[in-house]
């Protein structure tokens, strides 16, 4: 009995001993849990608190109102208008199929649309509104509102969207906006930074180059959200800053007028203020409706645009490259005079062609101009005379003058797709073509052919800088009255010198000539070209003294004319469209008190005098008619000479 009891006691002791071993393990575990709590809740508290906030808080950006674009007179070229939209909250819709059926009875609701909406519903959370239609007409919108009580889950919304002037004439200069693409995000840090879903961004023209200013700063709505992303309550709201409105120097009236004239053609018209560099008109044709891009262009329309041979998407004024043809002659003449390589009185006999190293260089006039001096050569655009001038001048000296006058470099710098063009010279050829310069190339460069390539805006700038007396101007399209002030002051000073016949010039201006007489000579020759019989644009002159303008035509060949073709005397009309010459004209007006420079380029438009000069004539008249009004707006800034 005793043994049994002892054994019982022993066992009891053993159990207790073992229990103590276990208990010490328990205490160790307890301590480690407390340590873990300490680590998570005290040491790492800040990290987890911020993670918890990141879970809990979500921010939504509110889209700021995009800045509007006005023309010089305050007319809105690109504005924001109300659009009527139809939103749907999928979780509130009791039956999607019946809803779609009802919708199709009221408005045009295609099967494709239905499929795309179904796809979007699947991708997104059921409480997030989906835009079913983003641009309804008023009649559709009101019809929908009438039946709305039958259609649960739909919400009519009046929203804001971009709207461009109906005439589309500023399509290229202003550009257009459309949905943000992946590429936009990749290329633009600002877009990545503000990161607003559904934001429209500028794709072209000023809309693109001034995109960031015009977007503004987004507002922020901070919400507390649950684990499924549903908003529980709003915690904070920061007002955004609306985009900046942009004033341009463009005159929308002139723009529309010029655009209408060249509507059927492919080409460009540029008009520039020769003192301030204000671009009054910059039209490219054909045009397209920018409004079509705002709500997403259909793929069929887009393909048509891309396939159109007249290239409606390209702003030809700054991105189209054309050989300047004879429009370069005034500059060649000026360069020759400045370098003293020719006397204006020097006479050359034009027989229709000259020969150099066994190669014939022809004048556009097959039978020749006869005896010509420099003024006549400009007036009648004698190629043979300019071959000689170019030969004496040499291409590198011409290059210096051309570059001074703004050729071969970007004119505006702030528009997408602007081209630099080419002013050929010996170095350029060696570097880009890898061959030495040949004298024959100098000859054709002298008449603006060969490697020579310019944009219409460059030609306009060149003429403007000749017309203002030979001073550099900086073209501008954004009307910023503060930055233009120094230029205006400089011109005022310059005018007061001129009025008092002082042979000095303002320090605010950069002189592009050596001898003012040379400029005067060229301008006078241009007067002859337009206003005297035998002048190339004589038929397009304006007789009213107020409107008298001066200018130079140009016909630039885009192919080599073969001997046979020359014998056949093919007319441009008879050639296929792609082979016809480009028609060019550049000039300034009014002749007595120059104020505006113009360039007209019509692709495959035939000769400059028949294809471009008549257009320039009409536009110049319009511009001068509008001058009184424009003057009023600039009265406080600018006293006329």
């Amino acid at each position: 009995m005793l043994g049994q009891s002892d054994s019982y006691q022993n066992k009891s002791r053993l159990i207790t001993r073992r229990m103590f071993i276990l208990s010490s393990i328990k205490i160790a575990v307890f301590i480690s849990i407390v340590c873990r709590l300490f680590y998570l809740q005290i040491s790492e508290n800040i990290k987890y608190r911020s993670l918890s906030d990141k879970n809990r808080l979500r921010e939504w950006k509110t889209t700021p109102r995009r800045g509007e674009i006005e023309d010089f007179f305050g007319k809105k070229i690109a504005k924001n208008t109300e659009v009527f939209q139809l939103h749907m909250i999928p979780e509130d819709v009791p039956n999607l199929e019946t809803l779609f059926f009802k919708l199709s009875r009221i408005i045009n609701f295609s099967d494709r649309k239905r499929k795309s909406i179904m796809k979007r519903i699947k991708k997104r959370n059921p409480w997030e509104p989906i835009i079913v239609f983003d641009n309804l007409t008023w009649s559709e919108f009101s019809k929908l509102n009438l039946f709305l009580h039958e259609m649960q889950g739909l919400k009519p919304v009046v929203s804001i969207a971009r709207k461009y002037l109906e005439d589309n004439s500023s399509f290229h200069a202003i550009g257009y906006v459309s949905d943000t693409s992946v590429k936009d995000l990749k290329n633009n840090e600002y877009l990545r930074k503000i990161n607003i879903p559904g934001l429209k961004v500028g794709k072209n023209g000023l809309e693109k180059s001034l995109n960031e200013q015009m977007i503004g700063k987004p507002g922020v709505q901070r919400f507390e959200v649950n684990a499924y992303g549903k908003r529980i309550k709003e915690l904070k709201f920061i007002q955004g800053i609306n985009g900046k409105n942009i004033k341009t120097t463009i005159d929308q009236e002139v723009q529309k007028f010029a655009s209408d004239i060249i509507r059927e053609k492919s080409g460009s018209v540029c008009v520039m203020d020769i003192y301030t560099g204000d671009i009054i008109c910059m039209v490219s044709s054909p045009i397209y409706d920018p409004n079509k891009f705002v709500h997403g262009i259909s793929s069929r329309d887009w393909l048509q645009l891309l396939e159109n041979k007249k290239k409606p998407l390209i702003n030809k004024s700054i991105s189209g490259l054309y050989p300047p043809g004879s429009t370069i002659k005034p500059l060649v003449a000026l360069s020759a005079l400045e370098n003293d390589v020719i006397n204006p009185k020097h006479v050359i006999h034009c027989k229709g062609e000259i020969e150099l190293y066994g190669h014939k260089y022809r004048c556009w006039k097959k039978k020749g101009h006869g005896y010509m001096n420099l003024r006549d050569a400009i007036k009648q655009s004698c190629d043979v005379y300019f071959y000689e001038v170019a030969r004496r001048l040499g291409v590198d000296r011409l290059f210096i003058t051309a570059e001074n006058f703004g050729l071969g470099k970007k004119t505006l710098n702030n528009l997408k797709g602007e081209k630099k063009g080419v002013v050929p010279n010996t170095k350029w050829k060696l570097k880009n073509i890898g061959k030495g310069w040949v004298l024959g190339e100098t000859l054709i460069t002298g008449i603006g052919q060969g490697y020579f390539l310019t944009t219409p805006l460059q030609i306009c700038l060149m003429t403007a800088q000749l017309a203002n007396g030979g001073y550099e101007i900086k073209p501008r399209i954004i009307n910023d009255i503060y930055s233009i002030q120094p230029t205006i002051n400089a011109w005022r000073e310059e005018f007061s010198f001129r009025n008092n016949n002082i042979a000095s010039y303002s320090f605010g201006l950069r002189k592009l000539y050596r001898n003012p007489e040379n400029i005067k000579f060229v301008l006078d020759a241009l007067y002859g070209a337009t206003n005297e019989p035998m002048g190339t644009s004589y038929r397009s002159r304006l007789i009213n003294p107020e409107y008298v303008f001066a200018g130079k035509t140009g016909t630039s060949q885009i192919r080599t004319i073969t001997e046979e073709e020359r014998e056949l005397e093919l007319k441009n009309k008879d050639l296929p469209y792609e082979k016809r010459d480009h028609a060019l004209f550049t000039g300034f007006a009014p002749y007595k008190k120059p104020r505006y420079a113009i360039s007209v380029v019509i692709e495959h438009g035939g000769s400059g005098s028949s294809g471009a000069a008549p257009i320039a004539k009409k536009v110049i008249k319009k511009v001068l008619d509008r001058h009184k009004l424009r003057k009023k707006y600039q009265l406080d800034l600018f006293q006329e000479a």
Partner: protein
């Protein structure tokens, strides 16, 4: 002598009521009150389904706890094998007639309650083994014949529960059983051998695991490998606990649970919610309440005379300790996620019932601490 060791007494009801461990009862009630508030918080400050049924269950099971306390300890000794067999039968029944929920078959519908027999097995196994070993003298314990039956009764329910599948509960059942075997004095080297064998078998075991179980283990090693899938629970749980700080976000202010970031907040992750709202201080206090309960149970075990009660009390204390520490370690990212409820706080009837029965037997040991078992 043995008669002297046990004082055969006939206690009156009054004596029994006086000899209840009031501190233990207070601690259990305190846990109950905390659980109401926590449950109330999971429902965003509303008394809805979960809070209501939790209160009902707690009231009923607390009553069961008190009633069981008055059973004589000999009753449990005598019915130990029957109790175990009944629960085992229920476990087998589950296999055939069980109610399935989220991919596992754990419950049987007893009309008034969906019972989870595996929870009851946690207590039944301890009772069985405590009886089995209580009469074997410590000198004989080394004999191999005394290990065959325990291993058998341990493995059968564990395998059954694992096949439900419910790895967490199976492990907890096994730990309860092993703790009895440990306490009874099996040589430490046997534990080392079996531990070594288990370690060797681990690769085999891993290959037998279901894909979701493997994912849980991998997630435990690196929660960031699938932050929105398998790692989501543990990441969100750690964020919730960590963001609580020293004093917590305040009652009903736990944003992680309020905004539904927390999964299973009523059941396994209830400690996360508590810890988020009451912080480090609250969590440590809760932990101390549990430790106090453990202490009380061990104290009862120390004072009890017969070895059956001693073995039972110490084993149950160990099991109870393992229950809440496994749960806490799991939500704090110290252990992989296995289904292990937090005793009394987690929503779930069977688990609470098992705990209350277990505590009831402990209390019965306290009241009848001088009794012998035959």
């Amino acid at each position: 002598m043995i008669r002297n060791h046990f004082q055969k007494r006939n206690q009156s009801i009054r004596d029994k009521v006086f000899s209840l461990d009031y501190l233990l009862i207070f601690l259990v009630l305190l846990l109950g009150v905390i659980s109401f508030f926590t449950m109330y918080s999971t429902e965003r400050g509303n008394i809805n389904y979960y809070t209501q049924s939790h209160i009902y269950r707690f009231s009923v099971f607390f009553l069961i706890f008190i009633v069981i306390s008055f059973f004589k300890i000999n009753f449990w000794y005598k019915t130990a094998y029957i109790f175990y067999s009944l629960v085992l039968i229920l476990l087998i029944v589950v296999d055939f007639y069980g109610v399935s929920s989220s991919g596992s078959k754990r419950w049987i519908n007893l009309l008034f309650i969906n019972l989870q027999p595996s929870e009851l097995m946690k207590v039944a196994l301890i009772v069985f083994l405590a009886r089995y070993y209580s009469k074997i003298p410590s000198e004989n314990i080394i004999q191999i014949k005394y290990i065959i039956l325990p291993v058998f009764v341990l493995f059968v329910p564990v395998v059954l529960v694992m096949s439900q599948p419910d790895l967490g509960t199976a492990l907890l059942i096994a730990i309860g059983g092993v703790s009895v075997v440990w306490l009874t004095g099996i040589r430490i080297k046997y534990f080392l051998y079996s531990f070594f064998t288990l370690a060797c078998l681990t690769p085999v075991a891993i290959s037998l695991l279901k894909p979701y179980q493997k994912a849980r283990i991998l997630t435990f090693i690196d929660p960031e490998r699938d932050p929105l899938g398998a790692g989501y629970q543990i990441i969100q749980s750690k964020i919730a606990v960590g963001s609580g700080g020293i004093f917590g976000k305040g009652f009903l202010q736990g944003s992680q649970s309020y905004l539904d970031y927390l999964p299973e907040k009523h059941t396994d992750f209830i400690f996360t919610l508590f810890s988020e709202e009451f912080g480090f201080v609250g969590s440590v206090i809760l932990l101390l309440i549990y430790m106090m309960i453990i202490y009380r149970i061990i104290k009862i075990g120390m004072n009890v005379r017969n070895n059956f009660a001693k073995l039972y009390c110490f084993s149950f204390a160990t099991a109870f300790f393992v229950y809440f520490t496994v749960n806490m370690s799991m939500v704090l990212g110290l252990l992989p996620i296995v289904g292990a409820p937090l005793p009394i706080l987690s929503y779930g009837g069977s688990s609470m019932l098992a705990i209350m029965i277990g505590l009831g037997i402990v209390m019965s040991c306290k009241i009848h601490s001088q009794d012998d078992v035959t």
